[in-house]
Symmetry: C2
Subunit: 460 residues, 2 copies
C-alpha cells in the first residue's frame, strides 16, 4: 500500500499534464456518424496509439470497413496477474444545433459553473474521451512510479460507438484470441451523484430503425392536390403517434415478450435513493414522467423498454411557409430493450406495424441502425465486489450498484463473442449534457477518476 | 375586327422577342420567403417597372414593409372604356430540394418533353412570371399595332404572394382610390387541359400556422432519459395524427361551420368532365383519394376544406443515427377553406386543439402565416361571359367554368377592400410542377396566353 499512495500522489501532482493530453484529444473532431469527419476519426486513433506506445504498450491502429480500432497490449509486472481488457471509444456525437454551444465544441477549456464546480468543456469531454483518458492516465502513473503495470492489460478503443458500431462484431470475431482477457473494464457510464460512485449491473439494449415513406413522385401544391393526394407527413405522424397507447405502453405486437418485472427488493433499494420524478426531470426543465404510468423514473429508465422517435422530417422546414405536400417524409425510431427482448423480433414487429399503416399507393423503405440485446451482470460477481471497495475508498460516499438506461453494445458483445464479463465503472454525471450542446466533464471526475482506476488496478 | 387579326399576327411574329423578355425576368431568383433573396425581389420589381414604362405606362416601384409592389397606369385609347386592374406576382417559391432539378432553376430554356410538347423551364415559368408576362406582352402588341390600349389599365404586381402577402392588405387600404377599377383581371390559375381554357369561379381560402413544442430545456440522451422525459416529436406527431378522423374529416371543433354542400347540378357538371381519381392522382404516381371518404377528387380539391401538414421537423435528421430526445419539435400546418368558413375562428380552434395536447410541463408557441377566406364569384357575371367567348375563340375547345383548390388571397382582398370582382384566367397546366423541382410552362400556354389576353381586352 506504500506504492498506492505514491501512485495517487503522482496523479495529483501531474494533473495539469494529464489535462493537457486530454485537451489534445478533445481538439480532434472525431464525429463518427458524419462521413465528412472520417480523417479526424483516424487522427484520434493515431493520437491514442502514439500515447500508448509512450506508456510501454505494444499498440497499433487497426483498419476496419469503417473507422479504425486501436489495440494495445501491456504484459504487466508479473506473469500470474489477471488479464484485463479495457474498452473505451474515441468517437463523438455530432454537435448540432451548433448555435446553442457557448464555446467551440472542439476548443476545450476549464470553466467554473454554478456552485464553484470546475468542469472540462467540449464535445467528448464526458462521452467518452474524458472517461477513457482516466484509465490511460492511471496507466501513466503506474508507468512513472513503478515502471510497469500491476496486471496484464489489453486496450481496445473503438471509433464507431456513436454510430451503431458496425465494425465491432466482425473485429471481435476476427481477433477473439488476441482480445480475450479474464474480464473487461468498460468506462462509459456515470456516477450516482458527484460524491457517490456507481457500478452498473444492468444495461438496456437498443434497436435503431429509420423509415422513409414515399407518396407522390414529386412535391405537390397543397391547393391543387390537398384533400385528394396522400400526405406522407400524415402517414409518418400517424405511425409515430400510434407507437404508444394512452397508458404509455408500446403497442407493437409481442413487444413485451421477454420483459420481466423487476424484483420488489430491487425496486425498494431504488426507492431509497430518493430520486423522484421531480428531481430526475427537474434538471432538464421537466416534471411529469411521460412513459408507462405507475412506475418510478428509475424503473422507467433502468428496467423498462421504450420506443422513442429520435428524428422526424418532411416537407418545408425552412423560414417562412410553403404550401407543399411533399413526396416523402421520414423518421428515425429507437427501441430500448430490457431482459430477454429479442432485437430482431422487435425490429420485425415494428416493420410489420409500419407496413400495415402504408396506403396501397404509397411505399416505405427501412434502414437499419444497429441492434443489441439488454444485458444483466450478476450482482455478486467478485470483480464487482473488489471494485466497489476500491471506489468506496476514493470517494466521499460508498459505491452503489445501479441500472443503466443507455446501451453499451460492447458489453453484450464481450459476453457473447469473448465469453467475458464486464465491469462498468465511469465518472460521468447526469448533467454532463452528453449528446447535447455544451457537453462537460467535471474536473473532479477526471482527477478522482484517474485515482479510482489506480485503486481498482491495485485491488485486482 | 381587322385590328384583332393584326394584333394576333404581331403576337405570332414577335414571339421570340417576347420569350427573350420572359427569360430575362426568370433569371432573377426572386424567392420571397427567404430573406437572403431580398435584393433579387427588388430587382424583379425594377425590371418590370422599366418594361411597363417602355410600353407607355406610368409605372413605379412602391416600397412596403416587405418586398416592393409595382404599380402602373395606362389611360387607354378612349375615356369611356372600362377600367381594369391586372394582378400578378413576380415572386417565386424556394427551389429546394435543389438536387432534384435537372437544370439550374434560374437558367430558363426551351425544352421538348414527351409528346413533342415544347416547354419553358425554370422556377416561376408557370407560377407566376410566365403567366403575368402573357398580359404584359398582350399590352405590347396593342402598343405596337395601335399605339395605345383599348381599355384603361392599372397593373399591380406583388412580390410576396408565395410568403403570405403580409404587405398587400395595408397597401390596398392605403391606395384604394388609386387601385380601384371596374374589375380585376387575375392571371394565376390554370387551364382545364392543354386544349380547354378555364375560368375559375370558386377559390379556397387559406390559414397557415406553425407551432413549436418545447419539452426539456436541452436535447437529451434517449438512453438516460428515454421512457421518463417528454419527447416533443411524439407530441407533435400526435397532434398531426389527430387532425383527421378515420373518415378523413378534420376533427377541429366547429371546423365545418360555414361549409355548404355543393349543389348537385354543379357536382353533375364536374362528374361529366371525366376526371376520376385515377387520372387526377395518376399523374403524380398515386391512385387512392386520401381525404374525406365518398367524395370525388374534384369535389375534394375544389369544394371541401382540408388540413395538411406542410412541414415537420424534430431531432436528428442528418445521415446516420443519433439517440436523442430533442428539446423541441415543430410543424407547419395549413387549412384550405371553403364557403363561409372564418379564418380567424379556424385558427383559434386549431390553437385550442394544440394547447389541449401539450403536457403541463411542456409549452407551445404559434406563428401565423397568412389567412384568407374562400371566395365564390357569380356564375352569371357579364365579364365572365365575355371572357368565356373570347377564350373559346382562341383555343381548340370551349372555355369551361371550374373551381380552384388553391388560394389567391388577392381575389378576396379585391372583393373586400376595393369592392371589385375578379376575373381569374390563367394558362398553367396541372403538370407544370409549380412549387416543385423542374417547374415548366408550356410554350403554347405562353403564346396562346398572349393571344387570349389580346382577345379578352378587345371583348371588354
Amino acid at each position: 500500500m506504500t506504492d498506492l499512495s505514491a501512485l495517487l500522489d503522482h496523479a495529483d501532482t501531474n494533473l495539469d499534464a494529464s489535462l493537457e493530453r486530454l485537451f489534445a484529444l478533445l481538439r480532434i473532431p472525431s464525429i463518427s456518424t458524419d462521413p465528412a469527419y472520417k480523417p479526424e476519426c483516424r487522427k484520434a486513433a493515431e493520437w491514442l496509439t502514439t500515447r500508448l506506445i509512450e506508456l510501454g504498450f505494444e499498440a497499433s491502429v487497426r483498419d476496419t470497413a469503417g473507422h479504425p480500432m486501436v489495440v494495445a497490449h501491456h504484459a504487466g509486472a508479473t506473469a500470474d496477474a489477471p488479464h484485463v481488457l479495457f474498452y473505451g471509444h474515441y468517437d463523438v456525437q455530432p454537435v448540432d444545433p451548433i448555435d446553442l454551444w457557448t464555446r467551440d465544441p472542439f476548443d476545450p477549456s476549464i470553466a467554473e459553473i454554478a456552485g464553484g464546480r470546475k468542469v472540462i468543456t467540449g464535445r467528448g469531454s464526458s462521452d467518452d474521451k474524458g472517461q477513457l483518458m482516466t484509465f490511460v492516465e492511471a496507466c501513466a502513473a503506474y508507468k512513472a512510479v513503478t515502471g510497469s503495470l500491476p496486471v496484464k492489460v489489453t486496450i481496445l478503443f473503438e471509433g464507431e460507438e456513436e454510430s451503431g458500431s458496425p465494425s465491432l462484431k466482425p473485429f471481435l470475431d476476427a481477433h477473439a484470441a488476441e482480445l480475450k482477457a479474464d474480464y473487461a473494464l468498460v468506462c462509459d457510464t456515470g456516477m450516482w451523484d458527484g460524491e457517490t460512485p456507481a457500478i452498473a449491473a444492468t444495461l438496456r439494449g437498443l434497436v435503431g430503425e429509420e423509415f422513409v415513406v414515399t407518396a407522390a413522385d414529386r412535391d405537390l401544391h397543397s391547393g391543387m392536390f390537398g384533400g385528394a393526394a396522400a400526405n406522407p407527413i400524415h402517414i409518418v405522424a400517424d405511425i409515430c403517434a400510434g407507437l404508444h397507447d394512452e397508458t404509455g405502453r408500446v403497442t407493437l405486437d409481442d413487444f413485451y415478450e421477454g420483459v420481466e418485472e423487476t424484483p420488489s427488493n430491487i425496486k425498494d433499494s431504488w426507492a431509497k435513493l430518493g430520486r423522484d420524478a421531480e428531481s430526475f426531470l427537474g434538471e432538464v426543465g421537466l416534471s411529469i414522467p411521460s412513459g408507462e404510468k405507475g412506475r418510478s423514473v428509475l424503473e422507467l429508465t433502468w428496467a423498462r423498454p421504450t420506443a422513442e422517435v429520435n428524428g422526424i422530417i418532411g416537407g418545408y422546414t425552412g423560414q417562412g411557409f410553403k404550401t407543399v405536400i411533399p413526396g416523402q417524409a421520414s423518421a428515425k425510431v429507437s427501441f430500448r430493450l430490457v431482459g430477454q427482448q429479442n432485437p430482431a423480433k422487435v425490429r420485425e414487429s415494428f416493420r410489420a406495424y409500419v407496413r400495415s399503416k402504408i396506403p396501397a399507393d404509397c411505399s416505405v423503405e427501412f434502414h437499419e441502425h444497429g441492434a443489441s440485446p439488454a444485458i444483466h451482470l450478476g450482482y455478486d460477481s467478485p470483480v464487482l465486489q473488489k471494485a466497489k471497495i476500491a471506489l468506496s475508498d476514493e470517494w466521499p460516499k460508498p459505491a452503489i450498484v445501479v441500472g443503466m438506461g443507455g446501451s453499451i453494445p460492447i458489453v453484450g458483445d464481450f459476453q457473447k463473442t469473448l465469453g467475458m464479463e464486464s465491469l462498468m465503472v465511469g465518472f460521468g454525471l447526469a448533467d454532463d449534457r452528453i449528446h447535447s450542446p455544451n457537453e462537460k466533464y467535471e474536473l473532479q471526475s477526471f482527477h478522482k477518476g484517474i485515482r479510482s482506476w489506480i485503486r481498482i488496478l491495485a485491488a485486482l
